[in-house]
């Protein structure tokens, strides 16, 4: 989106996405083009601010969830320990099954 200078005139174009392709659309020149450029700028600023706010919210919530993810890892480790101690082995796709060989240590 922007101004293009040709000869003695300034011409304002705006970019649009149509069916996945970016297409340049001629808006005009003079006061109408300046007004369109101003509207475009404020719309772009609004989107930038929204993106920034979303980034900050994601950072904040990621930090909030982080201890829970650490807890998940610790709890899963203890589940493994408990099931291994009880004589189970983890097979494909996470299924725990009793070991085939009888192990004196687990009895």
């Amino acid at each position: 989106m922007g101004w293009e200078s040709r000869g003695h005139g300034l011409y304002f174009y705006r970019a649009k996405r149509i069916g996945g392709r970016v297409v340049r659309e001629y808006v005009g020149t003079g006061q109408v083009a300046e007004l369109a450029a101003e509207i475009g700028r404020s719309e772009s600023d609004r989107k930038d601010a929204e993106r920034q706010a979303l980034r900050e919210a994601i950072q904040e919530l990621t930090a909030l969830d982080a201890p829970l993810i650490a807890l998940d890892e610790a709890a899963n480790l203890w589940v493994r320990i408990a099931l291994l101690a009880a004589g189970y082995r983890q097979h494909a796709r996470g299924v725990w099954r009793k070991s085939r060989g009888r192990n004196k240590a687990t009895e």
Binding site: E50, D72, A75, W78, L84, T106
Partner: protein, 182 residues
């Protein structure tokens, strides 16, 4: 007696890396690790070493985020968590069950947090909506997985582990009398 003595002499790792190494050997099929694994599970301090503090931290940060400065809400939420804990724990939970219950409580808090944030958000754009919905989905999945794991551990491991702990306690109480008929 000899068996009891042998179990008492089992060396148990006391650091996180030691525990990881032990689990790795057990997963590879090393059956000599089983007595050490059982011993690890008997003592709450071992479980707290890797999990207890993290559970408290996770719950505290959710409570603070949800309640903010509202002390009444904070208090009622804390009370609700205590009820949830006692409801899930039953009479005599093992240390691992207690850790899994703490995880369940923390995941329940995350589900509430995600739902409240989505419900209270106004004029959500598509990006915000997508993010909040995906966080709610992740929280729900984590909560259901935590529930399933607690049930799985109770069904598969706890009967065996409690049996072993009970047998050991009887050995100690009865001096040299070893009974396998419990």
């Amino acid at each position: 007696m000899a068996g009891t003595k042998q179990q008492n002499e089992v060396e148990v790792p006391t650091t996180g890396s030691g525990i990881f190494a032990l689990v790795k050997r057990a997963q590879a099929g090393d059956k000599s690790t089983v007595p050490a694994l059982k011993k690890l599970l008997e003592k709450p301090e071992h479980v707290d070493l890797m999990g207890g503090n993290v559970a408290a931290e996770a719950q505290r940060s959710f409570i603070n985020a949800m309640a903010g400065k509202n002390l009444a809400f904070k208090e009622s939420l804390t009370r609700k968590l205590e009820l949830l804990r006692s409801e899930l724990a039953g009479l005599n939970p093992t240390p691992v069950e207690r850790l899994l219950i703490e995880r369940l409580v923390a995941t329940w808090l995350q589900v509430q947090d995600a739902d409240i944030r989505y419900a209270q958000a106004e004029n959500l754009s598509k990006h915000w909506g997508d993010y909040f919905i995906s966080r709610m989905d992740r929280a729900n999945k984590r909560y259901l997985a935590a529930l399933k794991t607690l049930a799985q551990v109770r069904r598969l491991a706890v009967p065996v582990l409690q049996f072993n702990i009970a047998r050991k306690q009887l050995n100690i109480a009865g001096g040299s009398v070893v009974s396998d008929d419990i």
